[in-house]
Amino acid sequence: MISLIAEVVNSKGIKLDRLENLEVKRGTALVKRGFAHMQKHGVIMDVTSIEQAQIAEEAGAVAVMVLDKLPYDVRKAGGVARTASLKVIEEIMDHVTIPVMAKCRIGHTYEAKVLEAIGVDMIDESEVLTPADEERHIWKWDFTTPFVCGARDLGEALRRIEEGASMIRTKGEPGTGNVAEAIKHIRIVNNEIRRVKSIYESGDQQELIRIARELKVSYELVEEVGRLGRLPVVNFAAGGIATPADAALMMNLGCDGIFVGSGIFKSEDPLERAQAIVIATTFYDDPEVVAEAQKMIDEKKSMIGMDIKTLELRMQERGTS
């Protein structure tokens, strides 16, 4: 019972195969978006090593996201940020039972191809890495592996879905430990969805077409958003989440789950913090449980945050077309 809107039914990513004499289909929107649905209400944690991946699994993460450097360190290091070493990704896949995701550069089809070849469970076409093509994102329908992409507003989200993304996340401002931008992005998306829904319910098709043109996406996608009153794929929060209360807030704003980047492993209490963020995400609607989770961490051990206004690099402005 999930939306399959905008699926390219004859895409290269769909593979027909036989399993024990039964015809099976891999890489369909149902199978790819379905994977994202299994991550809901969970926490996906950025990791750079086997040890961090095992801490994440132990803490109850639903998946790990492998990258070469945590977003905070990407900011510090400067230069070009690329996909992680395949050897590290493969080692992590051999050491945890939960799904292993990895990031590739925006528009870098071949980083994505190699990640698919080694068998990562989901690819994040991410603004945390240096974009390879600002004009065009990857055509994700060509892949059997599902993709997640960042978005700051409804137009970005729907354009990514039209290109084949099976999951969306807010961009926020990665590596800052500052949740403000993630809040801003989910509010924008929510407000735009509310507007589309009310127009859909009023039956004003012409206005929906006008919105589709404004957002540079197909009419059918806008109509589906109106019908569902939400994005047609799973939508997580990401970019600046550092504490259990941050996670609970994002869940209460309607996100389906949480990505934590630098927030855990740039803190001084990673295991406790990872556990606490998982608890707060699960029980986001119960302030007493979230308070218990918040007690598990020490604010003195949180990563030092950054004020968005003084940033030299705004990762969220990458890959918006």
Partner: protein
């Protein structure tokens, strides 16, 4: 008795199961209630339970933080009907191992006499959909959605096989417990959910 179906609402495809249960009630033309089971106090209110797909380690850990896992185990052992899909099947199984990592240390309910292999069909790129024959729900094929799915490798004497994918067992029933490797909540077909509701109505 008016059926009250609970969906274990810690992690995974919770809303999808809530919607499918609603559809199953509608398809059966009966009046039933659906609630989310998140706290120990919710367990007493239900007379049937669904354990959704998601990550079994995450769901098991969250359920064992409180008395929830223990209370659910008690109700199931007393005969409360339960449906476990994918991660839910893993949590119900007596014994679990991972295809690559071997024996897993994870909290489980462990009441179904089956041995389950996690990630048995491979990683996400190997995930698939296939039309299945499940005689107990009728002749019409059922769309099986297998996502990093587990397989049932051994079954005890009281376990009935509901569906096989070639030689691999992918759906089973043991008295009040139903387990599937696949995700009926991702389809539009409520027949597996109806099977659970029928069990609840027989109580």
């Amino acid at each position: 008795m008016r059926p009250v179906i609970g969906v274990l609402a810690l992690q995974g495809a919770i809303e999808e199961h809530l919607a499918m249960t609603k559809l199953a009630f509608k398809d059966m033309g009966i009046d039933g209630e659906i609630i989310q089971v998140k706290k120990s106090s919710d367990v007493g209110r239900i007379n049937g339970l669904i354990i959704p797909g998601g990550e079994s380690t995450t769901i098991g850990r969250a359920a064992s933080m409180s008395q929830l896992l223990q209370l659910i185990k008690q109700r199931i052992s007393e005969g409360m009907p339960v449906l476990g899909t994918c991660a839910g099947l893993i949590l119900l199984a007596k014994s679990v191992y991972d295809r690559v990592l071997g024996k897993t240390e994870q909290p489980i309910i462990g009441l179904m006499d089956v041995v389950v292999e996690r990630n048995a069909f491979g990683r996400q790129r190997d995930s698939f959909e296939a039309d299945l024959d499940i005689p107990i729900i009728g002749d019409k094929k059922f769309k099986g959605v297998f996502i990093r799915a587990p397989a049932i490798r051994e079954i005890g004497p009281n376990v009935e096989v509901l569906c096989k994918l070639g030689g691999v067992i992918v759906a089973v029933m043991q008295d009040n417990i139903i387990g599937t490797s696949f995700h009926p909540e991702l389809t539009n077909d409520s027949r597996i959910h109806q099977l659970l509701i029928k069990k609840v109505r027989l109580l």
